[in-house]
């Protein structure tokens, strides 16, 4: 075979060298035809190479294995800042203070009636302080490249945040997995493709599929898988419009979308469209249930704190709030 005919410039990202014209011509896969096939041809065979040189540089490895690029809205830094803001808003609604805490704003926990600062090592005080720490950490991380380049750091901090919450229900697990699966698709399709990221997509699709389709309980009940249960409520037993506007339905339906896109991406049918679908599903997965819970609570805009509290208490809000930082950390870790 002729390497010139099928060759392309190497993407030298793996050996740390700069890419571009200094890159040697890349080899193309050969079906092991043996050394009798000439590697270099002369004469007429050399002319296509000359014509190609006249046309410009050969296609690069980037184009051979397309990198679709991540739109700004789905980049880890932006997701982290947005996640920090969501966390801060829900923190203000009492996300970390617990149901028994005062109905007032969370920072009043640290003030005595006389206005002095107070702190006790109990769940409400510690978690409220930690909530503020998480929000500030995620907000500042994109501006500290030394930290952000270590996606593992962000993931670890996000995981630490999740540890302080009580046992996760199936819906909580699905919310976190929705973020991780969307991150896997964004990393696989948006960054330069690689087997590691494809394996990441595979594992996340498997886990999301398990949450959606595995029958968990209710012996003898045919509709005990989450996806089937929601489908049954939507189309058979329940009022379609009413069920559709429940936060649980939103999480399950968006998880189904991400599952399908992840499956297509894993088998190689993904593309730029899957970056957009996964990214939008990630956003809807966080903000959709929150808005629906707000609406269900009566959308009390006049008393802002009461409205926030109703969102916090009606949802796996903690897991929704950590979804964006978890996704950002996973994309960052896959990139580095």
């Amino acid at each position: 075979m002729n390497a010139d005919e099928e060759g392309f410039d190497l993407d030298t990202q793996h050996d740390g060298k700069a890419g571009g014209s200094a890159s040697p011509a890349a080899p193309a896969p050969t079906p092991a035809r043996g050394p009798e096939h000439p590697v270099e041809r002369r004469g007429a065979a050399a002319r296509p190479a000359a014509r190609r040189a006249a046309r410009g540089p050969a296609p690069t490895a980037e184009s051979a294995e397309p990198s679709h690029g991540l739109p700004f809205l789905f980049r880890p830094g932006f997701l982290l800042v947005l996640g920090a803001l969501v966390l801060a808003v829900l923190w203000a609604g009492g996300l970390f203070s617990g149901p028994d805490a005062s109905a007032d704003w969370p920072w009043t926990l640290f003030q005595t009636e006389g206005g002095a600062v107070t702190f006790t090592w109990d769940a409400a005080h510690v978690f409220t302080a930690l909530g503020a720490f998480f929000a500030v950490f995620f907000l500042l991380t994109p501006f500290g490249p030394a930290i952000r380049s270590r996606g593992a750091t962000v993931l670890t901090v996000a995981a630490l945040g999740l540890v302080i919450f009580p046992p996760m229900t199936i819906l909580d697990r699905m919310v976190v997995l929705l973020g991780l699966a969307a991150a896997a698709i964004l990393a696989h399709e948006g960054l330069h493709g690689g087997s590691g990221r494809r394996a990441f997509v595979f594992v996340m699709v498997l886990l999301l599929g398990a949450c959606l389709f595995l029958p968990i309980q209710s012996p003898g009940d045919a509709f005990d898988a989450q996806a089937l249960r929601v489908g049954n409520d939507l189309f058979v037993d329940g009022d379609f419009g009413e069920v559709l506007l429940q936060p649980r339905t939103a999480v399950v339906l968006l998880s189904c979308v991400v599952f399908a896109v992840g499956l297509l991406s894993w088998i190689g049918l993904g593309g730029r469209w899957s970056v957009w679908v996964a990214g939008i599903a990630l956003y809807l997965g966080v903000f959709g249930p929150m808005l629906l819970a707000w609406r269900a609570s009566g959308a009390d805009y006049a008393t802002c704190h009461d409205g926030l509290r109703s969102v916090v208490q009606g949802l796996p809000a903690a897991f929704l709030a950590f979804t964006l930082p978890v996704a950002a950390g996973a994309i960052d870790a896959a990139r580095s």
Partner: protein
């Protein structure tokens, strides 16, 4: 012609025009291929995965068999033929598939990318068996604690090889930090869990606690805390064979001691040996999460080693 195969998918490339040591990306699978690198030796046998697979299958047989089954009085394959609940069938099928795949992987029959599926199956089971609603093959260890222990275990396993030690440190540090964080920031009513643990230890010396409480609760809790500290220190650079052995032993104590203590508390352990073995064997291998922990941590370590080989 100079040919270099991709170490991951086997695609062959003509690399006559490339110098030794340069790398390029496989167009078929995206793996980095280094020119001149010898094909990584296959990993035909993995003792850890073999142990994990055997533990999974043994746990399933202790749980379901017609002689002295703890949960189901039929062989696992018989459950698929009758009117058993769908959730039970699926859980048992997944468990058996994960165990068998672990065995196949351990013997080198599966392809090199085997570990991804093993990790996936183990994670699915961890995700579903730790749900509070689950009745079949239930695991009592909480989800995040089990994931932390898996990360710590895999990290400790990777510390032995200098090539995988950096990744091992990250995993061990992450797992250890999750565990120590849980102790510092969990509360039992208003008392921090760490303070409660210290008070319990004081209670042991004051004679307020029974031997059963000590072996079932206090010692495993202390072992978990120490294992977390070992992970954090390993992540910060501490190492050595003894360090790895200590961490793994502490994790095994956490998972196994409650079941062993339960067996020792029996008034007449040998009156009905078969059912006792089934009950406490299921508790030790399945309910404690030992089988899933072994499978997941060895699969993650195996995946990291394969990944390192193909870089």
């Amino acid at each position: 012609m100079k040919v270099q195969p991709c170490p991951s998918c086997g695609a062959r490339y003509n690399v006559e025009r490339l110098s030794d040591g340069s790398t390029f990306e496989c167009r078929r699978c995206g793996q980095a291929v280094r020119v001149g690198a010898a094909e990584p030796p296959p990993r035909p046998f993995s003792a850890g995965l073999l142990l994990a697979g055997v533990t999974m299958i043994l746990g399933l047989l202790l749980y379901a068999n017609p002689r002295f089954g703890f949960g189901e009085s039929r062989w696992p394959w018989e459950l698929l033929q009758d009117g058993t609940a769908l959730s039970t069938k699926v859980t048992i099928l997944l468990w058996a598939a994960a165990g068998l795949w672990g065995l196949i992987s351990a013997l080198g029959i599966a392809p090199r990318s085997r570990s991804v599926l093993t990790v996936g199956l183990a994670c699915v089971l961890i995700l579903t068996c730790t749900l509070p609603e689950v009745a079949e093959l239930r695991v009592d260890t909480p989800l995040l604690a089990l994931f932390a222990m898996v990360a710590l275990g895999a990290g400790l396993l990777l510390l032995g090889d200098p090539a995988t030690a950096p990744l091992g440190r990250v995993l061990a540090f992450g797992g250890g930090l999750l565990i120590t964080w849980w102790f510092a920031f969990s509360f039992e009513e208003t008392t921090p869990y760490l303070v409660k643990t210290v008070e319990d230890v004081r209670g042991v010396f004051a004679g307020h606690l029974t031997a059963g409480e000590v072996t079932r609760q206090i010692v495993p809790n202390l072992a978990l805390l120490l294992a977390g500290l070992v992970g954090v220190l390993a992540g910060l650079g501490a190492g050595g064979r003894g360090w790895v052995g200590t961490g793994m032993t502490l994790l095994l104590v956490v998972l196994l001691l409650p079941a062993v203590a339960g067996l020792l508390e029996e008034d007449d352990p040998w009156s009905d040996a078969a059912s006792l073995v089934a009950e406490h064997g299921t508790a030790a291998l399945v309910t404690s999460g030992l089988a899933l922990w072994l499978l997941a941590s060895h699969a993650v370590a195996d995946l990291a080693r394969n990944w390192k080989d193909t870089r």
